[in-house]
């Protein structure tokens, strides 16, 4: 009887030791996933045969009005802006150009694998605004989140494919994060300053770009072949375009978002929103 009990007890102890060992320390979606395993491998793309994709992202129709941001609750940040900042859900440039559109190769690069860049991409908090508003990184690449305001921000990322994080920076400082799984797009917000939001696109290759204020965008150094390129906008949804890249050539691409697309369901991780349980709506405060 006692022997049997001893056996059971020892087994139970061993099991619990393994369970505890297994549970300890997770990884992924976390800090300092940074550097690639081996020395930076060479790019699998032969520069001699590569081509480019370039073009414009435009918007036609009545541009949505963006509300002014009331920074009254954070005087230090308000002082950094010479004109009152407005929300950045829709940033249209001259000549119908649409900024902050995330453009990337969605299909066509499956056979290649790309090394993780060692350099970090900077997401800056300056004047209580994220700079840039939309950014792209590669899987595993460090994002250096920087606080340039000297006051409390938190950085709350709500992905669906990756593990989220929610960390604070009470002073000027820098925190590194990276994502191990490709995901378009991860919303990031500050809860201390409710108007602050940004979006991070994670892809497993270097062919992504964010459209500039005039709507221009380009993807350089692609191997020749057929690709599906997707353009993502936080309020207007997504569009795709099929392109063929030729050696040494620049294939033109254009995305024309229109007024009727406003309010489309936008694929990304969604923060829980009790007042708008039917989905992410245009920010209205």
């Amino acid at each position: 009887m006692i022997e049997r009990f001893n056996e059971l007890r020892n087994t139970a102890l061993l099991v619990s030791v393994f369970v505890i060992a297994g549970c300890g320390g997770g990884d992924g979606g976390g800090a300092d996933a940074g550097a690639a395993d081996a020395a930076p491998a060479e790019s699998p793309v032969d520069a001699a045969t590569a081509g480019n994709v370039a073009g414009m992202v435009t918007f036609s129709g009545a541009a949505p009005m963006m509300a002014e941001i009331n920074m009254g609750s954070e005087a230090t940040c308000a002082a950094k802006h010479s004109t009152t900042p407005t929300e950045e859900g829709f940033v249209g440039g001259e000549n119908g150009g649409l900024a902050n559109v995330f453009v990337y190769v969605k299909e066509g690069l499956e056979s290649l694998s790309f090394p993780t860049p060692t350099a970090a991409v900077v997401l800056n908090q300056d004047g209580c605004m994220y700079r840039p508003h939309v950014l792209g990184v590669q899987v595993g690449q460090d994002i250096a989140i920087r606080n340039s305001d000297g006051l409390l921000h938190n950085i709350n990322a709500s992905p669906t494919e990756n593990r989220g994080f929610n960390v604070s920076q009470p002073v000027d400082m820098e925190t590194n994060r990276s994502f191990p799984v490709a995901e378009v797009m991860v919303p990031v917000r500050c809860d201390v300053h409710g108007w602050m939001n940004s979006y991070i696109g994670i892809v497993d290759h270097p062919y992504f770009a964010v459209s500039a204020s005039d709507g221009s965008v380009s993807l350089d150094g692609l191997p020749p072949g057929d690709y599906v390129i997707e353009a993502w906008h936080e309020q207007l949804g997504t569009m795709t375009s099929n392109v063929t890249v030729t050696t040494g050539g620049t294939t033109e691409i254009s995305f024309e978002f229109t007024e009727v697309m406003a309010g489309s369901p936008v694929p990304m991780g969604e923060p829980i929103d009790l007042l708008h349980p039917d989905g992410h709506q245009a920010v209205d405060h």
């Binding site: 009331n70 009254g72 609750s73 409390l152 938190n154 929610n166 604070s168 809860d191 201390v192 409710g194 829980i272 929103d273 009790l274 007042l275 405060h285």
Partner: protein, 223 residues
């Protein structure tokens, strides 16, 4: 450093009653405190062991047990009964509103929605303020308290008002301020990383000044 047990000043129609109950309890517990602690220290001193001292062989007294059961019971129940009246006034009997607003707590701010010139909430002329509640004096301000995410607690210390904001619920809170001025809005329930930053300002106006403020706000925030 303020060692006083006197409460800081308060400025609402109910705060006098709330503070009054506090002082009643302070008196009762204070007297009890002094008597019991004095007896304790006196007994320790008087009955400390000395050569030749013998303790009294005494198992108790039913009379004393009854006495010190009934007296505290009556006192605390009396405190309860007196408290109930004030509680009902503050939490149960909501007066007709002079001004209705919606206060929504979310990480980490208070959004206040005012009815605008038409006097009704939920219409297109409603306007909002961030981390500020503006209200006239001498009128019941009836608040529908909401939360967008986690439990916050809407705390107006100088008005002696506190109510948890619970996501998924509309909870009614009211107060009537008796003096214009700038007061504090705080969050009194741990709500996350930025809990410490959820402060705001309560500004109480005379009725006329509030009208002026309200009109100018409504104009500014016209869509």
């Amino acid at each position: 450093m303020n060692w006083s047990w006197i409460l800081p000043p308060s400025f609402s129609t109910v705060s006098g009653d709330i503070d009054g109950i506090y002082y009643v309890i302070l008196w009762i517990t204070g007297i009890t405190f002094f008597i019991t602690e004095a007896l304790l220290f006196y007994f320790i001193f008087k009955y400390r062991h000395k050569e030749g001292r013998k303790a009294t062989y005494d198992h108790g007294s039913t009379k004393m047990e009854i006495a010190w059961t009934m007296v505290p019971l009556v006192i605390v129940l009396w405190i309860g009964v007196v408290s109930k009246g004030v509680w009902d006034t503050v939490k149960v009997d909501v007066p007709a509103a002079g001004l209705e607003v919606i206060v929504t707590g979310k990480q980490f701010e208070w959004n206040v929605t005012y009815p605008g010139p038409d006097g009704a909430l939920g219409t297109s002329d409603d306007f909002e303020t961030l981390n500020e509640l503006h209200a006239p004096e001498d009128q019941p301000i009836v608040i529908t308290l909401r939360s967008e995410d986690v439990i916050h607690s809407f705390f107006l210390p100088e008005m002696r008002i506190k109510q948890d904001a619970v996501p998924g619920q509309d909870i009614t809170v009211w107060f009537e301020a008796i003096q214009p001025g700038d007061y504090t809005i705080g969050c009194a329930e741990l709500c996350g990383i930025g809990h410490t930053t959820m402060g705001g300002t309560l500004t109480i106006y005379t009725a006329a000044d509030f009208q002026a403020w309200s009109s100018s706000q409504a104009q500014q925030q016209q869509p």
